[in-house]
């Protein structure tokens, strides 16, 4: 089946006074229907830029340099404005960073969602819209009587749920969630992550989940894409990427994350700072900070290649499969090394 | 201060600010020409702005070769008056604005930092200042005592300093006061005086400077208004020039005697506008949100 969303060598730059910022460079990925893609990377790596590109919400100083974004096989950058508007609610909905602040404080929450439905589906009557809001609230776990309350009467977690309900209002085929739980406390975050996962499975929706938090990504994604300095460095099944990270950046990033599971492991440090995308390093953008860098890395940009089936990576010197760590630190029924090697050759 | 060259780069992008700056510079050159002209080309007996008199003409005389902008009803050269006044307008505007801003900054930051009674007291003073009819008050004061140039500039500055600017600068100081670096300074053992002097004032200063530009405009307009009413004891200023024309009755036929009021009127307008425009340009430096990205 055709993928729902496909990015094909997508490259987008921002014009600033100082020059062109190479925010997204040659990103190729695809998302199947019902699949959840976790996009992970540090601040400024271009993950939000990708979300904005997919929504066609780029600021005026941006420029698509090359590549395409196909939604249901159609290039969104050749769509008319009307088609894009339709796509934004019925095709792809987005939950923004700090979305709880995106509710209008002077309208009742229910009214805001009804408004969104009626605007985008003129054929829907207001009663039908209210009925749908009722079922949406049920879906995201807000008591129905809360529909008639104002945003300031909601707690942070409940606002976030209301925003999710709003994003789901027009039955989108896919949702882009940009750090939707970053501002929330862990217990609330946990509840929302579980609910989003349930809803997604229930209505077979695709999702791109953007986060800097490796552990959140691990919990919500089927497929994980790792970005560094505007480039996709690794892409694969979540299990694969987490247990057998091949790109040195992914490897270090995952080892840099403290976990409360299992025994303590030495936390990895990545020396230096992320590069300035006005003038990114030559060759591989990670090479100045990479402990596996060779002479080649500073010269040639590594190819995007399928390192094993379904697992893509851009690196001249990928980490060997023996370099696992999650299995080692996990207690209890953790898979042993031999088993991991076995599954990797089978998958 | 921080990144002067960077701030200059932002300011330079503001067309309105640059235009204002150029006009101010032109006025500066114009004013600087006065001592040169009176000491070289112009005969002080004829061209002195206050006591000069040209016996060769009937006054007021329209522009001639000798008097490029004509003469006023008592025979003094308009261009010389205009030039002579420029420097004094600068002095008046900048001096009173400086006083205003210094007072406003100190009171604003102190009120914001200490809060409580200090805050309430100065805010009520500011309210009274804002509600008080400024110009009529000065008209009355001016008719009772001789208001000369410097006392006038100081009164204007002091009155302004306790007024609305305090409220604005206090708001800014309040937003600085809650920053973590203020806490950091307190943990380091910094006294209140140290925190106000080293952290709050420097962070309020850009806004103070911005309001100083607007205050220059305000001071010059006040001076012009009061001079026009003839309540100031100032020998010559742009406002005085219009007052002279008005007192002699020439403003009733203003189309015919345009040179009596147009040059000084234009100078006041342009000069005030220029400072205002620089203020607008600075606004973009001070408030990053206004910047076009």
């Amino acid at each position: 089946m055709d993928p729902l969303l496909k990015l094909d060598d997508f490259t987008m730059h921002y014009r600033t006074k100082a020059g062109w910022v190479q925010a997204v460079d040659g990103v190729t990925l695809s998302l199947a229907r019902g699949q959840a893609l976790g996009l992970v990377g540090e601040s400024g790596c271009g993950k939000t830029s990708i979300a904005m590109s997919v929504m066609k919400l780029l600021p005026y100083n941006s420029k698509v340099v090359r590549g395409r974004i196909l939604f249901e096989g159609r290039d969104i950058y050749s769509m008319t404005d009307g088609e894009v508007r339709k796509m934004r609610w019925k095709g792809v909905a987005m939950i923004f960073q700090a979305a709880m602040n995106s509710l209008n404080p002077v309208y009742r929450v229910g009214n805001q969602i009804v408004e969104a439905i009626v605007t985008h589906e003129p054929e829907t009557s207001e009663e039908e819209a209210w009925a749908r809001v009722r079922s949406l609230f049920e879906l995201v776990g807000i008591p129905k009587e809360r529909m008639y309350h104002y945003p300031h009467e909601y707690s942070g977690g409940m606002k976030q749920r209301a925003v999710i309900a709003m994003a789901l209002a027009c039955n989108p085929k896919m949702i882009i969630a940009d750090e939707p739980t970053t501002a929330l406390d862990v217990i609330v975050q946990d509840k929302i992550l579980r609910e989003m996962d349930q809803i997604r499975r229930k209505i077979n929706m695709s999702m791109i989940y953007i986060s800097h938090d490796v552990s959140v990504i691990a919990e919500v994604s089927d497929v994980v894409a790792v970005m560094y300095a505007g480039k996709l460095v690794e892409l694969g099944q979540a299990d694969d990427v987490f247990k057998r990270p091949r790109h040195p950046y992914t490897y270090a990033l995952m080892r840099a994350y403290p976990s409360i599971l299992g025994e303590k492991h030495e936390l990895a440090t990545i020396p230096g700072e992320p590069p300035n995308l006005l003038d990114p390093p030559s060759g591989c953008r990670f090479h100045p900070r990479c402990d596996r860098a060779s002479a080649e890395c500073s010269k040639a940009d590594p190819m995007w290649r399928e390192i094993c089936p379904g697992h893509y990576c851009t690196c001249h010197n990928p980490v060997e499969i023996g370099g696992t760590w999650v299995g080692q630190v996990r207690s209890g029924k953790a898979a042993d090394g031999g088993d991991q090697l076995g599954t990797s050759s089978n998958s | 201060m921080r990144g002067l060259s960077q701030n200059w780069a932002v300011f330079r992008e503001s067309r309105i600010g640059m235009l204002g700056l150029i006009v101010i510079l032109l006025f500066g050159v114009f004013g600087a020409l006065w001592p040169i002209m009176i000491n070289t080309v112009w005969d002080p007996l004829i061209y002195h702005p206050v006591v000069g008199f040209d016996p060769m003409l009937l006054h007021p005389s329209p522009p001639t070769k000798a008097h490029l902008l004509g003469t006023d009803p008592i025979g003094r050269d308009i261009l010389a008056q205009l030039m002579f006044s420029t420097g004094r307008e600068f002095l008046l505007g900048v001096l009173s604005a400086l006083i205003t801003v210094v007072i406003g900054t100190v009171i604003g930051t102190v009120a914001a930092y200490y809060g409580g009674f200090t805050d309430t007291f100065f805010m009520r003073v500011a309210d009274i200042m804002m509600l008080f009819p400024f110009i009529p008050l000065l008209v009355v004061v001016g008719s009772m005592v001789r208001l000369t140039f410097f006392p006038f500039a100081i009164i204007l500055g002091v009155l302004g300093g306790f007024g609305g600017i305090t409220i604005i600068l206090k708001a800014q100081a309040l937003s600085v006061k809650v920053r973590p670096y203020i806490d950091a300074a307190r943990v380091a053992g910094g006294s209140s005086f140290h925190i106000i002097r080293a952290h709050i004032i420097p962070n309020v200063l850009p806004l103070s400077f911005l309001y100083m530009m607007f205050n220059v405009t305000g001071a010059i307009l006040s001076e012009a208004t009061l001079s026009f009413f003839g309540v100031l004891n100032i020998d010559m200023s742009w406002g005085m020039m219009i007052h002279t024309a008005e007192a002699a009755g020439y403003l009733f036929d203003f189309g015919k005697y345009w040179w009596l009021w147009l040059p000084s009127g234009l100078a006041i307008t342009l000069f005030c506008a220029a400072f205002y425009m620089v203020g607008r340009g600075l606004d973009e430096v001070v408030n990053p949100r206004l910047r076009k990205r």
Binding site: E42, S155, M158, D185, V186, I187, Q189, D190, L193, R194, H212, V214, S215, V216, A218, E219, S221, A238, D239, F242, K243, A252, L253, M254, A256, Y257, P258, S259, I260, L261, K264, L267, T269, I270, E273, P274, R289, V326, R330, A335 | M1, R2, G3, R179, P180, Y181, D183, A184, A185, R186, V187, A188, G189, G190, S191, H194, A198, H199, P202, N203
Partner: protein
């Protein structure tokens, strides 16, 4: 009341006894009853010399207020703080300056905690400056020394730069240098890594651990992130609505949490392993604000193990359940 104390009280660099901070809450013009937000409510703990105590909790639990009370940025409603066995509230005059030198603080936001109008030198030298320590030359030397200690090198390249020219990680290092420039014995670190990227964060965490080794500094490490606390702290105290509900050795609290709130908190932390399915945290409802809280266990409404007797008694006092492991729960 049993204090979560060590055997030897003299060993403690910081001891906090029955600390309370209530904030009045205004609720309209006609509300007669005085409403008080119990931000920190009867909190007692101590930090041993050279120890890192983690103070963990969700937003609004009072952990930052506790830190600010200790750093004397705000003053307690009741309760006492002892530093080196001296009651802080009784310190006056010149001794206050000495006290200030002993306790320093690192703040959460490296973009806001450095004055944008000061150079790095001025920022790091500020504590020396306000305390009149050293002449300019000595200060410059000390600042350079501190900067290289926190990994800003070469210091000379940074001394006269402004904060906005530095990255987030570098700024936080500068903030740490400022906190350490007067040789404090105790540092309150209020979420110093929560705004930093992962790759930078580890560096700062390792730096803090290294400084503790080298300089013997004790920390109160305030964080919402249990995983970070686990890696950096010797002991962890969990706060909920102004109360400390559990204190224990870091590994013990992570592996064998006793209090139902700690259990819920730990099971809610996402883990970086797609194969692990965490149990659903057994906790009801959401966090409320402790405004004039009823006299019973603060966790009662949300508690999965609460019994009717919990509603009848006051909030439980921390009890030593096993060696050094304290929990405040009636049901243990």
């Amino acid at each position: 009341m049993a204090l979560p104390a060590t055997a030897d009280a003299a060993d403690a660099i910081l001891r906090v006894e029955h600390l309370c901070k209530y904030y009045p809450v205004s609720r309209g013009l006609f509300q007669r009853r005085q409403l008080l937000l119990h931000a920190v409510d009867n909190v007692s703990f101590e930090v041993k010399r050279g120890e890192v105590l983690g103070l963990v909790g969700e937003s609004g639990c009072g952990k930052t207020t506790t830190g600010r009370l200790i750093a004397r940025l705000t003053f307690p409603t009741t309760g006492r703080i002892f530093v080196d066995n001296a009651d802080v509230s009784k310190i006056q005059g010149a001794d206050m300056a000495e006290f200030r030198k002993k306790i320093q603080m690192i703040f959460q936001d490296p973009y806001e905690s450095l004055d944008p109008r000061m150079t790095i030198f001025d920022i790091v030298a500020e504590p020396l400056n306000v305390n009149g320590m050293g002449n300019l030359e000595e200060r410059e030397q000390r600042v350079a020394e501190m900067l290289s200690l926190v990994g800003i090198s070469p210091p000379s390249a940074f001394l006269f730069r402004f904060p906005h020219e530095l990255s987030g990680g570098q700024r936080q290092r500068v903030a740490i240098a400022r906190a350490l420039v007067m040789n404090p014995t105790f540092v309150v670190a209020d979420e110093p890594t929560s705004m930093l990227d992962v790759s930078i964060r580890t560096g700062i965490m390792k730096l803090l651990a290294q400084l503790r080794e080298d300089l013997g500094i004790s920390y109160l490490y305030i964080t919402h992130d249990l995983a970070v606390a686990r890696y950096l702290c010797d002991r962890i105290a969990v706060m909920y609505l102004g109360k400390i509900v559990e204190v224990a050795e870091a590994e013990e609290i992570i592996k064998e949490p006793l209090h139902p709130y700690t259990r819920a908190l730990i099971s809610a932390v996402p883990v970086p392993d797609p194969a692990v399915k965490r149990p659903v945290p057994t906790i009801k409802g959401g966090v409320s604000k402790p405004i004039n809280p009823p006299r019973r266990c603060r966790f009662y409404e949300r508690c999965p193990v609460a019994k009717s007797t919990c509603a009848e008694q006051d909030h439980p006092a921390p009890r030593e359940v096993s060696g050094g492991h304290f929990a405040a729960c009636h049901q243990l």
